[in-house]
Symmetry: C2
Subunit: 199 residues, 2 copies
Amino acid sequence: MRLFDMPDSGNCYKVRLMLALLGRRFERIVIDPDAGETRTAEFLALNPYGKVPVLEVSPGEFLPESNAILCHLAEGTPYLPAAGMDRARVMQWLFWEQYSHEPNIAVARHWLKHLELDEARRAELAVRQEKGRAALEALERRLTEADWLAAGRFTTADVALFAYTHVAPEGGIGLNPFPAVRAWIARVEDVPGFVPLSA
Amino acid sequence: MRLFDMPDSGNCYKVRLMLALLGRRFERIVIDPDAGETRTAEFLALNPYGKVPVLEVSPGEFLPESNAILCHLAEGTPYLPAAGMDRARVMQWLFWEQYSHEPNIAVARHWLKHLELDEARRAELAVRQEKGRAALEALERRLTEADWLAAGRFTTADVALFAYTHVAPEGGIGLNPFPAVRAWIARVEDVPGFVPLSA
């Protein structure tokens, strides 16, 4: 399998982490959006939406959307419960991640790390950080009552949420107020097969 | 089953449409966020995230996140392929809807219908409308090559994308430039069991 990848992207890292957990071998093809490499005709032919990650799941079959890739890879493994409420709760967290968590925490991190911020963008940054903290409060509540997000064990939901949560401080969103989140980060890092973002 | 519902919300409508397609009976409990009804202790006890829709899938078991609810209801039915790339493509569209479509089209519609817009909000509205049009262009490309979004048939992906696409004009995003999208809207409205948003 070939992964069209951006080393510092949490969405790409989710996929690398799942592949590592599953012991799947893959080829990394690094794409640089800042150099226009997601806008070439060659790349748009395999993902018309011009975004990474994209996983070539079988020859000529290209799948975008990080959480859809996670579901596809995890199907039939212990990382994705087969049915019922355990499965529904994993899906609940995956959709919540894309709507309420990533657009705030990942975007704040991207702006702080990679962009020059004018005044309007600084105001918007503060809004994203505030919403990011609200997302972390929701995670904190959940992880105060349970060790893992869903199904009583480490699942795809933890993989998806770990990716940007553990680097939230790079978006100016500190983790000190969230002890249960910090303890969960340590648990995820202890899971057999774990690889860090910068591996 | 009880659905905690907001009549004009596309996210709630997705769930009502799926329940209708499946011929499932349910009780509608209308919640008014503007009257603070998603912030009461009673509501937060069943969804700590304070949002609708929430479906009580079995007594005392409350599931939020519209697309997670759709997946849960559609599992084991023709609306959600059981495995492989057909399933992966449905999931791809569902995650894309929550990240690239809903935050632009649904938000533009909500602001235009329900809020007084100051100057800053008007500028942000224009940005959301522009991104909403980009999302419709992506849909148009897909629906020019196929009648349905995934799996060669009407699926959960079409239910999720239909909800806010067909009311995009209420967000100031006209559908005239998108003939394939308009033809698909007519096909969805012809599916046996279809119910409109305002039913």
